[in-house]
Every structure is written in C-alpha cells, then in structure tokens.
Amino acid sequence: MKAVVLDTSVLVAGLLSRQGAASSLVEALFQDRLRIAYTPAILGEYAEVLGRPEFGDAITSHDRIGILMKLRASGILVDPMVVPAAAWPDQDDLPFVAAALAMDHKIIVTLNPRDFAPATAFGIRVLPPGAARRELLP
C-alpha cells in the first residue's frame, strides 16, 4: 500500500462530498487501502482547517477528533526533510514538500498542483485527485 502526502485541500474536499476523486481517496484512507505520510506540522494544519468556521456546519469538534485520530493512527509519521530553496509559491506549503521528500514514493496529492510546481525538480510527483485515484486505487 502506497503512502502519499495529502494536501489539506484534498482532505477537506474529500470529507465534505460523497462525489469525486477526493472523496474516493478519503474513503480509501478510512478503509486502509491508502495511507498518508504526515508530520506534526501537517496534522496541525489539518486540525486548524477542519476547525474553521467555514466548515462548522458540517464538521463538529467531536468529528474532527475522530478524523484526526484515524489519520494519525493509520498514517506514517515521517521526519521532515530540509526543503531545497526554490521559487515556492507559498511557504506554508513547504511542510507537505518536506514530508514528501522523506518518502520513497514522493507523491503529493493536491487540488492546487501549481502551488507545488517546483517540487517536481526534486523528484516529487504532484498529482491532482483524479490522477491519484487512477494510479493509487486500481
């Protein structure tokens, strides 16, 4: 079973909707058909974003804990690698790059591939959810 770094955008999209590739990926995580690689920084961001008021009508604090516990229990905690200097569009994305660099299969799944464009120069594959579903969930 491959492990991927899941950008927060994909996690949120997959939690909120029963439709689409992000949804399939989240279900695969919950069914232990796919694993995430994470660092404390990534798990922290998941917690912050799932707790945002924008999602408050759907995600209660109780459910947020349930989701985070599952991701933590089933995921792979990795030591983040040092991210090489590059023209990164958003410094806040770098924890995801640092986690991907620590993996054998360096894959980031994101709704915003352009935000991770420099990562490909460092052997990281940046996949949108549809491509990730086709490749990882045969």
Binding site: T8, A13, S17, A58, D63, G66, I67
Partner: protein, 96 residues
C-alpha cells in the same frame, strides 16, 4: 543495569524511530518494552491494539458519515476548490 546495542539497516532504524515517536516515548524505551514483551512471549500486536484500531476506525467512519450528511444538508458539499483554498489561507494567516 546492562547496556545492549545492535546494528540495524537505515530503513529499519527509521521505522523504529517513527514507531517510538508515534507512541510518544524515547526510542530506547520503545525498544526495551518491545523486547521485554517479545521475551515474555506476549504478542507485540495483541488484542488491545486490535481493539484500539477497531475503536478508532469505527469512530472515524461514523464521523465521516456525519460530516457528509451535514454537508449535504447545508450545501457545504458544493464547496468549491477555491473556497476550500481560501479557508486554508485564512487558517494559515490566523496561525501567523
């Protein structure tokens, strides 16, 4: 107290370090406790661990279902990627 040492491939060492961190204990304590259980004949992956996984999985499945039901009822299931990205940016700004 005796000192024990051993050599391990880099991949194995990384795996052990990660497992210890997951439990929130030093690697030396993780190794000692794991070795003690093995020496005592206790299965390392015992019923307790299975029950813990079962509880976490059950809770997560229920949470996922509740989130999606509420999202469908409130229209949040139609949240666009741009709206999700905006919420993430807000969270990051709030973090400072």
């Amino acid at each position: 107290m005796a000192t024990l040492s051993f050599h391990a491939p880099a991949g194995t060492a990384r795996k052990i370090r990660t497992a210890a961190r997951k439990r929130g204990i030093p690697m030396s304590r993780f190794l000692r406790e794991t070795a003690e259980r093995a020496a005592d004949g206790d299965p390392v992956s015992g019923l307790g661990r299975e029950l813990e996984k079962f509880a976490i999985d059950s809770m997560a499945v229920v949470s996922l279902e509740r989130i999606r039901t509420r999202a469908a009822a409130t229209g949040l299931d139609k949240t666009t990627p741009a709206q999700i990205t905006a919420a993430i940016r807000s969270a990051r700004r709030a973090r400072g």
